[in-house]
Symmetry: C2
Subunit: 120 residues, 2 copies
């Protein structure tokens, strides 16, 4: 087999595409779980295990990964209390709270048009 270019266009495209502010924003909230997590945190702080209960189908691994990403992206603040057993609280940052009204509109769009399709 000839050796192939490794990982050229895939990664390059990613950086190029993110130059679009809109794509950038959607990427922050894309994926299977991020929105659900952010929605929960909109109303209150949660501990890791509480979030897990709220999202029964997520695995601990996914919850961890998503929370880490959200933290890196500045959407979630993580606070560790040095106790035993450990306690860690997650809450939205100001930046994430600005999504609030946008989420509302997106949610309305979803409700409206999903029903439209189902009814047909």
């Amino acid at each position: 087999m000839a050796t192939r270019k490794k990982n050229s266009t895939y990664s390059r495209n990613e950086t190029i595409i993110i130059e679009c502010d809109l794509t950038y924003a959607v990427n922050k909230i894309g994926g299977r779980w991020k929105i659900l997590i952010l929605s929960k945190l909109e109303t209150q702080k949660y501990r890791f295990s509480e979030l897990k209960k709220e999202l029964p189908y997520i695995t601990e691994r996914m919850l961890t990964l998503q929370l880490r990403t959200l933290e890196e992206d500045g959407l979630v603040k993580r606070t560790v209390y040095a106790e035993v057993p450990p306690r860690v609280e997650y809450e939205l940052t100001e930046m994430a709270k600005e999504f609030g009204p946008i989420f509302k509109q997106l949610s309305e769009w979803g409700g409206k048009h999903r029903n439209a399709i189902i009814k047909v």
Copy 2:
């Protein structure tokens, strides 16, 4: 190796999660290219080859796939003209046009907070 459960939670989770209107909406516009395509079509109709020129880094295959998905989701209307060589035009549906103001806000969010991070 013991045979493993095939595809249990992955697909099941997808259907469960989509019950959230917000996640449903974001899934419609998620992925690498959909937003860029929709943004182009916000201003005018485009032929396949014109879209390709506007999005130089997308491959024909990806453009086809994304347009098909957008069509299935009712966001894009595809019109084929029985000519040779063929002519196919893509335009937004009313449903997709409703994303307009939301896109604007998301884009503003992206511009604002990306710059914030870069400046740090």
